[in-house]
């Protein structure tokens, strides 16, 4: 599998289909994001191109500039065509970022790779394959999440008690937000004093994490980076997974599938775009 990824990457670079490949590189016994350029030494480095379930933050937001790493690259090199080795979740992140005007998908060529059954199980991923599969075999996702079922079987006071316990562990490290590929606002509500008091722990329950739950609700791609980043193991994904189901249920919408599919919060009740109709009416 990894060999065919390297071969295809080499082919793309040599045929000048892309100017650079963005992926993970083996380095000092670990992995790190790396831009393999089309120059001779870049191509020879492709032997170190790798994939990892431990580190999948190819689309993450840089702090404190709050720029997406890809949009930074695209702004600096507007004409560069970048090839990206992307798993299902990373591809969905790219689609959502393009939908929200953060990156230019025209300048990106996605090498969609499938996750293995073990990897899917590890992430409890419901969709461990990209929409456009290039390398690997598609395996079925994990359906059913015992955390969600446990939450839904609780009564309202029990749920509140559960979250009160979980959220009181929060140390306000902002790890979930910083790891989230969909969090790119320059002014983050989680930092505004009116919503979150400064200087006290735990943060206001449920305000602090509610902001994230709501803001990511319709764009969550289910990658699970927030839960992995959480140092105190708050089961954030339980709510995000359930919200992904709710979006299908409420608006027949699934994040990260097609760039043309507009977010339900930006359309009218009959799912027509708001902005277009307003301007044509004037």
């Amino acid at each position: 599998m990894i060999e065919s990824i390297r071969d295809l990457a080499r082919k793309w670079l040599e045929s000048k289909e892309v100017d650079a490949i963005f992926g993970l590189k083996e380095q000092d016994g670990g992995v790190a994001p790396y831009l393999f350029t089309g120059r001779v030494n870049g191509i020879s480095e492709l032997g170190k191109l790798t994939t990892s379930t431990q580190y999948r933050r190819l689309c993450y937001t840089c702090r404190p500039s709050k720029d997406n790493i890809l949009s930074l690259m695209q702004r600096r090199e507007p004409n560069m065509k970048i090839g990206i080795v992307a798993r299902g979740c990373e591809e969905r992140a790219l689609v959502e970022l393009a939908k929200r005007g953060q990156i230019d998908l025209e300048k990106i060529k996605i090498m969609g790779i499938a996750c293995s059954q073990e990897e899917a199980k590890e992430c409890k991923c419901e969709r461990p394959y990209p929409n456009n599969l290039v390398i690997g075999e598609r395996v079925e996702g994990v359906s059913g999440d015992e955390n969600i079922n446990a939450l839904l079987s609780k009564s309202l006071p029990e749920r509140l008690a559960f979250w009160r316990h979980e959220l009181s562990k929060c140390i306000k490290c902002y790890g979930c937000r910083d790891a989230c590929p969909m969090c790119f606002c320059k002014d983050c509500k989680m930092e505004q004093k009116i919503f979150t008091e400064t200087g006290s722990l735990p943060p206001e329950i449920p305000m602090f994490l509610f902001i994230r739950f709501y803001h990511i609700s319709e764009r969550c791609i289910g990658c699970g980076e927030c839960e992995k980043a959480c140092p105190v193991d708050i089961p954030l994904l339980t709510i995000f997974r359930q919200l992904r189901r709710d979006m299908k249920d409420l608006f027949d919408y699934e994040a990260g599938i097609a760039v043309e599919q507009e977010s339900p919060l930006l359309t009218t009740l009959d799912e027509s775009p708001m902005r277009k109709e307003v301007t044509s009416g004037v």
Binding site: L156, L160, E204, M207, I239, L265, M274, E277
Partner: protein, 139 residues
Amino acid sequence: MAEFEPKILAFCCNWCSYAGADLAGVSRLQYPPNIRIIRVMCSGRVEPEFVVKALSLRADGVLILGCHIGDCHYIYGNHRTKKRMAILERILGYLGIDPARVRLEWVSASEGARFAEVVRQFTEEIKKLGPNPLKEVRA
């Protein structure tokens, strides 16, 4: 012990519901004094965070009132509200706060009687639900 008197926060849109509340007032319609009104320019101005903030500041219920669909002064403001509140209700449910504490209703400027009726019904419902469980969290 005195009967539980809930505190209810109402966000009223400037163009319809606030005028509706005004009409209820000048028509001398009776409705429970449990609500406190905040005027917003559009129900679309009400962010779900406002509602959660109100609940965590010990409001027992939150009422969001806007123009009927199609009547919005800003054309699609109330479409946004409706979709947002649908998501908000789900999240509140998962967090263990009864979604019935938040209600979205459309009240036009000519519906003073309806405004009074909505407030009456909602107050009754909140009385049945009892005090906001988040009160203990902050105590």
